[in-house]
Every structure is written in structure tokens, then in C-alpha cells.
Amino acid sequence: MSGLLITGARVLGRDAADLLIEDGRIVEVGRIAPSPGVVVIDADGLVALPGLVDLHTHLREPGREDAETIASGSGAAAAGGFTAIFAMANTDPVTDTAEAAERVRDLGRTCGLVDVVPVGAVTMGLRGERLAELGLMARSRAGVRVFSDDGRCVADGRIMRRALEYIKPFGGVVSQHAQDPRLADSSACCHEGEISGRLGLPGWPGVAEEAIVARDVMLARYTGSRVHVAHVSTAGTVEVIRWAKARGIAVTAEVTPHHLALTTDLLVGYDPVYKVNPPLRPQEDVEALRDALVDGTIDAVATDHAPHARHDKDHTFVDAAFGMLGLETALPVVSDLLVRTDRLGWADVARIMSANPARIGGLPGQGRPLVAGEPANLTLVDPDRPVTVDAAASRSRSRNNPWHGRTFTGAVHTTIHRGRVTHRIDSTAHATEAEYAQ
């Protein structure tokens, strides 16, 4: 008899239990005696969570395989405790057809480390002019449900309205990169405020994000469709979302670990590793984002993992590429910032990093409770183990890691995707071929 037995894991941080996994499913939860042939993972002291789901990943394949591939990004995701990731559409070519979406999905299947779920572009070529083939992408075997021009804002109100109306029959959602391009200089590269004023860098004011979110929630109300706000970065946006949710408008929102932890003050040395879009904001915004995540105004943590080749980052601040890595550090950051400070429990982490993103993205087999009969997507976390981030040790192809050298408490110990171990901490020391063969 084959199978995987996890012993003594604290499910969602609560009472310890054993979980038996067979044929990709959880078949039993409780006190289970190991039977011959079963591989045992001793999870004493570890927390079991449903496998993490990332609504916002950039994999760069096709087009920029020097920065990341579906394989390398899948590896980083598994190392970060993820069992499903949404791959943004801003590749080259753009994911704006059924064929392109199927290819991303199939390459993800071939790697087999996580479910790679393609996000479809809202507009052809992300140009913001006419709708991409939203329906064909939805009908394809990729089953696209999340549409986004991420990297760019769907700025034209008329296009946004039509997209929201058009996706209703297949239950789609538009993930909006909210940023009015007319409210900032075209070379904007940071938060507009005292720091940008002192540094002489052109910035985006918070209102460039807030004005689009305000428009979009009204469009969601008018069309009765779903809008999702990607990477919320300001306190003003939180206020708008809170207002909209109180009125029953179908809006959801995500926040990145970096917007929860890093502030615009880091820009004083002009290090492009901190250049990201939307930009790092002041401490007041960071506090408001944490509060909004805790009180449920913001539904999910999403990484916006954005790998870049070194030669695209080694430039002057205004010229360097936007974005930072995030898959491998998301859980340690959330653990350190919100769980260790008692603002969230592990059940909350399961909600914001697994159940909610799976629900928003329409993934039926992810973000499920850890009970018998459910797919075996789960993550074991060592809540007390410190992790010191080493950019060079990443499974990503890129090294634009803003967390390098920082230490967090809370480590991803083991990741199990569809019943198969895809990551083990200290894997060289402890993992056996038998485990990986499951």
C-alpha cells in the first residue's frame, strides 16, 4: 500500500492530527497508525495549512525566459508553500488568446509542481483599445476566469465597462491594476510625496490609484459584475473598498507582502531593487493596509512576484525595471508581521493566502478545508523557525529580492501538491526519493 502520512500536524494551528494522503486526496484525518509502505512525515510542531494560492505571479514565459520560466517560477512557488499560482498575462506574446492561455496551462502541467493558472488579458496586446478574446479563453481547456492587463491599467472607462459586462456569463473577474496614467508623469517611478520631492524622482500620487478604484467599484455596482483590485497600496483605496463592500458591491482586493512591510523611505539610496509598481508608500499607508487585511476589507495576500534579469535592474532608478520577487518570502513575511504579532491566527492565514484567493480566482480544487475527501494540496509551516533570506539561494532565475539579508520567523517546511511532495525544507538532508515519488 502506498500513501503519505503526516503525523502530529496542528491543522490551521489548532489541535494536532494525523493526515493520510492517497491518490492525491486526503483520505483520513485523526489518529492514524502507520501501515506498511506508507511514507511518514513527522509534522510534530508544524502547522498544516491548505496549499497557498497566489492570485498574482509573473512567470515571464513566453518571452523573457532569461528572467523566469514556468519551471523556475513553479519551483519558487513550491518553495514558498504555493500549490496554485495565477500567471499574469503580460508576457511576450501576451496571453490574449485561448491558444496562448492553454500553452501556459500545459507547460505548468508538465512541470507539475503547482497548478499554473493563466490570467487572460482584458485587451488585445494589453493596449487598452479593444477586448481580447475573453470568451474563447474562458471556454478553452485553460478555463480562464481572471482577466487582467496588469502592468497597465484598464484606463478607458468604456473598455472597463464592456469587459465587466462581457465576463458575467462565465463568472469572470477583472483584476485591475488601478493607476490612472494621466495622473502622473510618464516616467513616474515611485510614490509622490516628501521622499520623491527630496530625491527629485517623478512620482505617482496615491489618488492615481484611488480614482480608478472609485470608478471601478461604481462600474461594478452598475454592471453587477465582479471587480478585483490588484495590489492595493494606499489608505485611500482601502477607504473606497470598505465603502463599496458595505454597500454589497462585488469587489475584492489583494495586497502584496512588500506593501505590508516596506516603505518609500527605502528609496533614499536609489537602489532599484525597491522600484516596484505600484510603488512603496509611506508608513501611514502600510498601517492602513495591515488593518484592512486584518478586518477583512482586503481579502487576500498576493505576491506580485516580478522577476527581472539583472541587466534590466542595473540601471538608474528611473530607467530600471519595476518589480520584486515574492513567492518564496510571502509566508515568512506574513508570519513574522501578522501572526507573530497576534494580529492573525493560522486559520486567518489559510483564509487570506489560500481559501479567499482560490474563491476569487474560481479554483475549485484549491483553498479547501483539510478534511477527508478533499484534494491533497497542503503546506506545512514551521512557525518558530527563523528564515534568513539569501537572494542567491532562490529557486527563481532572478535575484531582484528586496528581502535579502532579512530574517523572518516562520518557514515553509513542506509543500504537497495533488498528493505529491513538491518542496521540503532542508531537502538535501531529509527528503527521500520515496517522498518525491508519491
Binding site: E194, G200, L201, P205, D314, H315, T316, V318
Partner: protein, 327 residues
């Protein structure tokens, strides 16, 4: 003093005063028939200009030459930068030639700081985007000091496109370091982001009303007019040049009011001037104008900066330099 001069904030009051004192000696060199001192013989200074410049580049070049350094001018057009080489590679390439100082002008804010982290040689910021231009602030301070002595308690108004001005950003620091009171004046659209918090923490005043400053309680000792680029209009920063001049230009009439309050008032402009826009032609040529003094101070101040960074000595030991020149 630091190995580099990236920001005016790198300089303490003692540093600024040492440089300005050295610059006075250098100014004497400038007035001689044979304008050469051997101080930097055998040293190499690269003037790397990624952005067009006439006065800054030529004054750095002259400063290096009069101090007997080997000076080489590189511009982005003639360099690998125009072939797509990254700033880092370009900087490392120049550094690998074992030069002593890199004077850099770049259109990107922060470029000089980044380069200083990559190279072994001294880096002097000759203007980085809309960030800083520390030697301009030094030459402005030199010009002011040579006319009015100690700047403690003096009132300087800086007027114009503050958002896009590196001259403003360096001057606000150096003038504060020397004890002057500064009022910055601009329409709200040309005030930098966050200027309220900034002015509160750094101790300068802001105003949207030039006339209120001209006629205000604190008489102005120096008016520093900043260049307003006509292309700012297309960004919607102000409606027309005519309206800008009426609101924020230093007209003959405003100068007369300034002189009535303070006969010793000085008019400054870092150049190049838009006569008729931010400064009236008759004001630029008025006796109160020290615009050409600023240019002349540029060479002496840059000699002093090179001296302090490369010769690594204090102002007190400057005497042998000029004696050496006489020998």
C-alpha cells in the same frame, strides 16, 4: 570630508567654509596671467556628461586644467552609453582605467550616488536629473559671501520651477548649512511633492505669492531666479508664459520695490536665462545682478572641490599651492 561629493548634505558647515576659503585662493590664481598650479599634476579627472551642458562642463574642465590634472571629457553621444551599455558598465569601465575622479552629469536623479557605490575613484555630482547640483550651491554661496560676508541670518528667496530644479535642492541645503533663511516661491503646480512636510523638517518657508515675499516683513537679501523651461507649459504646470511672468517673474518693477527695501539686494540666476520669462532683460543686466559673478565663481569653486577631494588637505594648507604656482 567624504571621498565623494554627491549631495550638498554630504558637507558640514566646516566643509563648506573650508571649500569657500580655498576657492578664494583659487580665485586669485584665476586673476593671474599664468593660471596654472601644479597641485593635481599626474591626476586624471574624467568629466562624464550624459546630458548637454556648457557652463558646468567647461568650468570643471578649466578647473582641472588650471590645477594641472589631466582632464578628459566624455559625453554620452560619443560613448558606449549611446550603444546601450548600462551606466554600471560604463562607470566600471572608466574606473578600471585608474582615474582619480569622475565628474558626472546625468539626466537621471540618483545616478551619481549609484556610480559612487560602484567605483573606487572619487565621484563629483555635476547635476543628477532633478535631484542635486552641489557645486552650483557652493558657487552660489561663494558669490553671496563675496558680496555680503557671513550668510548667517540673511534672507534668500528662491523663485521658479522648484519641482524640476536640482539647483533649488542643493541650495536649500547649503544655504541652511550656512545659517541663511530661505523662502521658496512657486505656483502650487511647480512646488515639489511633500514640500510642506519637507519645509517644516528642514526649516525653510514656502510661498505661492511672490509679491508677498518682495514686500514682506523680512527684506530680501538675494533673489535667486530659476530657469523655467517652456516645455513645462505642455505639462499644464501654468497656462501661458505671460501669466507666469506676471505672477512669478522678476520684473523691473519688482526689482525697484526690492531695492527700496534693501539697496544691497542681489539678483542671481544659475543660467541659462529666459530673458522676459522668469527674469526681465533689464533686471539681468542691472547693477544688482551677479549672474556673471556666479559663472566666474564656478571655476574657483570647482578647483577648490577637486583640491579637497583629491589633494585631501585642509584649507589651512592651501598657501603652498599658490606659492608653488609662483615658483
Amino acid at each position: 570630508m567624504n571621498r565623494h561629493l554627491i549631495s550638498s548634505a554630504d558637507l558640514t558647515r566646516h566643509d563648506v567654509e573650508s571649500i569657500l576659503t580655498t576657492a578664494e585662493s583659487m580665485h586669485d590664481v584665476q586673476r593671474r596671467e599664468v593660471k596654472k598650479v601644479p597641485t593635481l599634476r599626474g591626476r586624471t579627472v574624467i568629466n562624464f556628461f550624459f546630458e548637454d551642458s556648457t557652463r558646468t562642463r567647461s568650468s570643471f574642465e578649466i578647473a582641472g586644467k588650471w590645477m594641472s590634472a589631466d582632464t578628459i571629457n566624455l559625453s554620452a553621444k560619443g560613448s558606449s552609453a549611446s550603444k546601450g551599455e548600462s551606466l554600471r558598465d560604463t562607470a566600471l569601465t572608466v574606473d578600471a582605467m585608474a582615474v582619480d575622479a569622475l565628474v558626472i552629469r546625468h539626466n537621471a536623479s540618483g545616478a551619481a550616488r549609484q556610480v559612487s557605490e560602484w567605483v573606487r575613484c572619487s565621484v563629483i555630482n555635476a547635476g543628477d536629473g532633478t535631484h542635486e547640483h552641489p557645486t552650483q550651491a557652493l558657487l552660489d554661496a561663494y558669490t553671496l559671501r563675496s558680496r555680503m560676508g557671513d550668510l548667517d541670518g540673511k534672507h534668500v528667496a528662491i523663485v521658479g520651477d522648484l519641482t524640476h530644479s536640482r539647483v533649488f535642492r542643493s541650495n536649500i541645503i547649503t544655504l541652511h548649512t550656512l545659517g541663511a533663511h530661505v523662502t521658496v516661491v512657486a505656483p502650487p503646480t511647480l512646488m515639489p511633492a511633500g514640500v510642506r512636510e519637507w519645509s517644516e523638517s528642514d526649516g525653510f518657508a514656502t510661498s505661492w505669492d511672490l509679491d508677498a515675499v518682495v514686500d514682506g516683513d523680512a527684506p530680501v537679501d538675494a533673489m535667486m531666479m530659476l530657469r523655467v523651461q517652456r516645455e513645462r507649459m505642455t505639462g499644464g504646470y501654468f497656462p501661458t508664459p505671460r501669466e507666469y511672468t506676471v505672477g512669478y517673474g522678476l520684473t523691473g518693477e519688482r526689482l525697484a520695490r526690492l531695492v527700496a527695501r534693501n539697496p544691497d539686494v542681489l539678483v542671481m540666476h544659475p543660467g541659462p536665462m529666459n530673458r522676459g520669462l522668469e527674469i526681465a532683460a533689464e533686471v539681468a543686466d542691472a547693477p544688482q545682478s551677479v549672474v556673471l559673478d556666479q559663472v566666474s565663481a564656478g571655476v574657483a569653486v570647482r578647483m577648490a572641490v577637486l583640491y579637497h577631494l583629491l589633494a585631501g588637505e585642509t584649507a589651512e594648507s592651501v598657501e603652498p599651492v599658490t606659492q608653488g604656482a609662483q615658483a
